[in-house]
Amino acid sequence: MSHPLEPRLAAYIAGKMPGASDVAVSALERISGGASRETYRFVLSWTEGAAARERRLILRRDPPASLIDTERRVEFEAYRAFAGTAVPVPEMLWLEEGEAALDHPFFVAEEIAGFQASPQMLLSGAYDAVLPKVAERKWTILGEIARADPAPLARWMEAPALDACWRRELDHWEALIDKDQAEPLPVTRAAIRWLRANPPPPAQKLSVVHGDFRTGNFLFDAAGDIQGVLDWEMSHLGDPLEDLGWSLQPVWSFGRAGRAGGLASPDEAVAIWEHASGLKADPAALHWWILFNCVKGQGIWVGSAAAFNRGGNRAPIMIYPAWWLINAQDRAMLQVMGRL
């Protein structure tokens, strides 16, 4: 049985490909996960000249209510900014910000097919021999993102002053927690008070910040290479230590205590990142950003619960992060603050 979105998507794409005929969409299926966007894979077929052509593509569509509310334009342009660089990303094809075509804004991109993203699979034991290679690639790519010139994205993203990066991010996530929390969060509030009382030094440069660069948001192969970096919906300009801090925050160890991202010791990860980025990770500043990222994580988990509680999105993917991670995030904060 074909998916009801198939003919609507085919009609939209046909309008974007004036040289093509017989444009058709088939095998459209939703990919599991995707709490901030609905993600589907599909096959596009068309005739060009006398030749029949086919391509595997991805549709990313806004849901009715999201775990995180972000502009799809920002995500689309972030992917495009890294096309053809040392940071592997899928090719972006079309962005639609209106709601007429598919009810919600969306974009269409190349599918990087044949690779895995699941952290559970990566850390199952089957890939143990290549985990050092994955770690090397992961923090090298993150270093490349930090090293990149942010100027091409300044048209789409606000460029804060170097000494304002931390405050902008903390203000943003504290406001979301104020709006979304369903119950008091004493550990998180204590962390926020500490962050405000002990601000980090100004950013050493303004960088592109991916915003969600963690194990689970890249595609890996059997040899341990990384073939694609995904989920740029929280990307922005800011302090490069922010991304490093997110990659080191304890919930992303997936139960492998002391292993950043479940892959390497924090010292190893930082050394790889410093080598690739040409930047230094001042330990005190990095500590601030790791704790900040614990607060940010809590903002995301209570936000997913709020989306469910308000009735905007009742999908189970909105419940699981809240149930599984709100307490774990408190534990991570206590660890980072030296209390646990």
């Binding site: 369903a182 008091p184 004493p186 304890p250 189970p316 149930w323 307490n327 991570a332 209390r339």
Partner: protein, 127 residues
């Protein structure tokens, strides 16, 4: 638990009925059912302990705040509402202790926050 368990179970019941019908795409069915199974396991884990955790925590926070009283109504929704009231007051007390430089009071509050976080830990927690 946030979201609360009862509306989550109601939602999962509806989802299971939907997935019992023909015509649901297989990837969506697999995603819905595997996530539902994980959520049911979490609900099962907290079922027996949740009232005890809230009563114990409410008692500890009342002591820190100098309040008297006990939880008489043991419905989870009532215990949770009282827990919310007490933890909001604890945040205020913690901030006041920091502002006053009262280290002993801060240490006592931190000890309860650590204990509360440990009480609520799930067996599958990643941290």
């Amino acid at each position: 638990m946030n979201p609360p368990v009862p509306p989550v179970l109601a939602e999962l019941a509806g989802l299971l009925m939907k997935n019992a019908m023909p015509g649901v795409p297989e990837p969506e069915r697999a995603s819905d059912l595997s996530l539902s199974a994980m959520l049911l396991m979490v609900a099962g884990e907290v079922w027996d302990r949740q009232a005890h955790i809230l009563v114990e925590e409410n008692r500890a926070v009342r002591a820190l705040l100098g309040e008297t009283g006990e939880d008489a109504d043991l419905r989870l929704s009532v215990l949770q509402a009282e827990n919310d009231r007490l933890r909001a007051a604890l945040i205020e007390a913690h901030a006041a202790a920091e502002a006053a430089g009262d280290q002993a009071r801060q240490d006592a509050i931190w000890a309860e926050l650590v204990a509360a976080t440990e009480r609520r830990k799930l067996s599958t927690a990643p941290v």
